[in-house]
């Protein structure tokens, strides 16, 4: 073991990433069995794999993701709400709509609109007061500057490379919390950490570095006009907690190694379950080992998935597990064929070197997965009239007939775009599907004027409900872990009895045979 990896052995870096072939991307091949290409990893997947290779196993087989953002400590929802609220507050100040001293009344409104309970609201209020103490001056300067801070920026690349001497290209996609073009900063916002911390929360520094790495690997031509002239190489990388901003060094050879190591795990585990055994032996982070009784505190999977509570009943759990095994893998294969392949298609549609291939992909996807549109008019707050591209008008009508009214809307390109949620309001008088005109409710659209826009079928990256397959994986895994300890309850519990009967002991059958023989 090298000194860099005191707890886990470095994975052999990949010689090549397994990309889908053209016939896969153009859907000319029957989708069958394990996909012959690697998944399209998200930034979160890579962070998880850096945390511990076993998280990749849980991601692949059990549909679990976000090992660091699970319900440990700070509830996951509160972090999301805090980030969303800060983006709303900043937008309002930048557009000159609200003053800083209205922050808490705006928070009250936000909480009531989102239906948050009193506990969550009081927590958010506490975090906000810490945050405002530090940010008052910068927010004052922001007043009336116009939309120059962008939140929830979706990025996707097929050209990420790590370490100078290596030229293996990787696909990565993800979302950047905030790109601040005023102060030239890329911000990763989190509620983790404490007042006296001198280092950023665990792996948040790696996450913001990776976001920057992905952003800088994308061709400038694919950036929306408003971001095209920015030199992101010079941007500061910031991890922002309510208590402090941490500036992260960009030249990080260790991070480069970690990223490649993580991607090797993702590829190897997707390719074959043989790698599970290696993952288990190398569990833990590069600098912190993980074992029974010494789990990594921040890892949500450690107690929930790796060393979960073991119940006494049902007794036939190992048979149950053996029966469920193929289901996990089949569900995973389906996710990769549906979801990851689409990510490849959308990214290659913009970034592939072959122009003909790009236009073939665009033809294939337009009207089926993406619907270009034009914003015609802002009717009132957050309500817009949009005109769907003439060529795909009727395809969207069919989608709407299936009662799919909630879409993700991307401004810019799929490679670099602002992601917003759009709800089609069919009951509005001005909505006329035959004509391709809809009234749409969209939040936080400031600064998106003159950008290309397109709807993505379903919710971004939740198309053709692949996420349901992930939920099924999670549910099956929960069933496997579930149980009771008390014998009296187990004897009367329908589910316990059912499992033990279905996957029951062979002795029952043996006894029956014996009885038959005796007769």
């Amino acid at each position: 073991m090298s000194s860099v990896y005191p707890t886990r052995v470095p994975r052999q870096p990949l010689r090549v990433w397994r990309w889908p072939r053209q016939e896969h991307l153009l859907e000319q091949v029957f989708r069958r069995g394990p996909p012959p290409f690697d998944p399209f990893p998200s930034i979160q997947d890579i962070v998880d794999a850096v945390l511990c290779p076993v998280t990749v196993v849980h991601r692949t087989y059990h549909g679990l993701h976000g090992a660091l953002s699970g319900p440990r400590g700070i509830a996951r929802g509160e972090g999301d709400h805090f980030h969303r609220f800060v983006s709303i507050l900043k937008s309002n100040i930048a557009l000159g709509k609200r003053r800083l001293d209205e922050a808490f009344s705006l928070l009250r409104m936000y909480c009531s609109m989102e239906g948050l309970d009193a506990d969550s609201e009081s927590n958010l209020r506490r975090y906000l007061s810490y945050w405002l103490r530090r940010k008052r001056d910068s927010l004052d300067e922001l007043w009336g500057q116009g939309p120059r801070i962008f939140h929830e920026v979706h990025v996707s690349t097929i050209n990420a490379t790590f370490r100078e001497k290596r030229d293996v290209r990787y696909p990565v996609h993800g979302v950047i919390d905030e790109i601040d073009t005023i102060n030239k900063r890329i911000v990763e916002r989190t509620l983790k950490g404490n007042e006296n911390d001198s280092n950023p929360p665990f792996l948040e520094d790696f996450q913001v570095w990776l976001q920057w790495k992905v952003l800088t690997s994308i061709n400038r031509d694919l950036f929306p006009d408003i971001l095209r002239n920015e030199n992101f190489q010079d941007y500061d990388l910031i991890v922002e907690t309510p208590y402090r901003d941490f500036t992260i060094e960009k030249n990080q050879s260790l991070f480069e190694e970690w990223a490649e190591d993580a991607l090797a795990w993702i590829s190897d585990i997707a390719r074959s379950s043989v790698a599970i055994s290696d993952a288990w032996q190398n569990k833990g982070h590069h600098t912190r080992s993980c074992s029974i009784g010494n789990e990594i505190e921040e890892c949500y999977f450690a107690r929930v998935a790796c060393y979960h509570r073991r119940w006494r009943y049902p007794e036939r759990r190992s048979t149950l597990h053996a029966s469920l095994g193929p289901i996990y893998k089949a569900l995973y294969n389906e996710q990769v064929w549906v979801h990851d392949l689409l990510l490849y298609q959308l990214t290659k549609m913009e970034q592939d070197a072959d122009l003909n291939f790009k236009s073939e992909l665009r033809r294939l996807l337009t009207g089926r997965n993406i619907y270009p549109l034009e914003i015609e008019e802002n009717i009132e707050d957050n309500r817009y009239r949009v005109k769907i591209d003439e060529t795909v008008r009727m395809s969207l009508v069919e989608e709407v007939q299936d009662e799919n009214l909630s879409f993700d809307l991307l401004f810019g390109s799929f490679s670099v775009g602002l992601r917003r949620r759009a709800y089609l309001l069919l009951d509005e008088i001005e909505t006329n599907p035959e004509d391709g005109r809809y009234v749409v409710y969209i939040e936080g659209m400031d600064g998106t004027e003159r950008m290309n826009a397109f709807l993505l079928r379903g919710l971004l990256l939740k198309e053709d409900p692949w996420f349901l397959k992930r939920l099924v994986q999670q549910a099956v895994f929960s069933l496997e872990k579930w149980g009771v300890d008390r014998e009296d309850r187990a004897n009367n519990h329908v589910a316990v009895r059912l499992i033990d009967t279905l996957f029951g002991p062979g002795t029952l059958r043996a006894r029956r045979k014996k009885n038959e023989f005796q007769q």
């Binding site: 394990p34 390719r271 599970i276 009784g293 107690r303 095994g325």
Partner: protein, 333 residues
């Protein structure tokens, strides 16, 4: 001792009172993150001040075995004199007085209530896994038993196979076969097909010998349907099946590895070994034995297994229709 919520994994946990029952005392806990409340039995068999130490010994044993330490060196924790004295009051620990270390004596009978804890269960599963590893290692030098195990494993693999078909263009699959596959009874009949295929494969690989005859007799199922015969004939006579037989003839070690891993997988089920670390000990031992018998390294065999899916896919890539062989020749985990 660190307590964590079994529901959300948070360590922000508080004691929440005790419940006295006839069977014993339950300690209630509440998770302050997700508000989940649960009970944990207070162990009566161990003095309260030794409880943490005993659990630490169990965990250390699991950790050491997973780190591939030999059994004689696994599970030792340093003790002070006070603990040494106290440990004498319980009869399932062994003490190394010279080095002032102690551990759970894995040969002794542990109290039942200790075995019902999470640590106790994992400890027992590790012990059962080690026992299984010894049994598997004994197969290494016994040709007859080894082949028998491999065949039993392959039988299990085919029994658990899902025979799904694909075609490049609609209508490529022979019509009779397609009609047959679309029948509701397909999954039942697939079992018979798998039986026929495994016999066909084993005959091609090892020829008919006494083991195979034994296997054939034990699994004798009459194949009496005309259509069923037709389906089996279609698959067995297809060029892809011949390619697969040819592939495994060149890579006998792969077939042996698959067979032995399926065989040990059945053992883990029979012995109710659920803990992943314990299962992996057994699977690794199986792969090691196959590698040694075929005079290759474990790493190269594992690489071959990792590439199996891709290789099977490339064998049938140019066919017009076929079976998803990746759902047939696969590892059980």
């Amino acid at each position: 001792m660190k307590r964590v919520c079994p529901k959300c994994g948070s360590s922000f946990v508080r004691k929440y009172g005790k419940v006295h029952l006839r069977q014993g005392v339950l300690q209630k806990f509440k998770c302050m993150s997700c508000k989940h409340v649960w009970h944990s039995r207070l162990l009566q068999c161990i003095p309260e001040d030794l409880s943490d130490l005993v659990f630490e010994m169990l965990r250390t044993f699991v950790r050491d075995i997973e780190a591939r330490k030999p059994l004689s060196k696994a599970g030792w924790v340093p003790l002070n004199e006070d603990y040494v004295k106290k440990l004498r009051s319980i009869n399932f620990c062994e003490i190394d007085y010279e080095n002032m270390n102690g551990r759970i004596d894995y040969r002794s009978c542990l109290p039942e209530e200790l075995l019902l804890t999470d640590e106790g269960r994992i400890f027992c599963e590790i012990l059962r896994a080690l026992e299984t590893v010894q049994e598997i290692e004994a197969l290494k030098n016994d040709e007859y038993e080894y082949l028998k195990a491999v065949m039993a494993g392959l039988g299990g693999m085919f029994k658990n196979a899902r025979f799904s078909f694909w075609e490049m263009e609609e209508g490529s699959i022979p019509e009779k076969l397609r009609n047959f596959v679309l029948r509701p009874q397909w999954s039942i009949i697939a079992e018979k097909i798998s039986h026929s295929l495994i016999l066909n494969l084993l005959k091609s690989m090892w020829g008919v010998d006494s083991i195979l005859k034994e296997y054939e007799e034990a699994n004798d199922k009459s194949i009496d349907f005309y259509l069923l015969r037709f389906v089996i004939h279609e698959i067995e006579e297809s060029s892809q099946w011949r390619k697969i037989i040819g592939f495994f003839k060149l890579n006998k070690d792969l077939l042996e590895a698959l067979g032995l891993v399926w065989y040990v997988s059945q053992k883990t089920i029979d012995r109710e070994i659920e803990y992943l670390g314990a299962k992996l000990l057994i699977f690794e031992a199986a792969i090691k034995i196959v590698a040694e018998r075929n005079s290759e390294t474990t790493i190269s065999l594992r690489d071959k297994l990792a590439n199996l899916s891709g290789n099977l896919e490339s064998l049938v890539f140019e066919e017009d229709w076929g079976v998803n062989w990746n759902d047939v020749f696969r590892l059980p985990y």
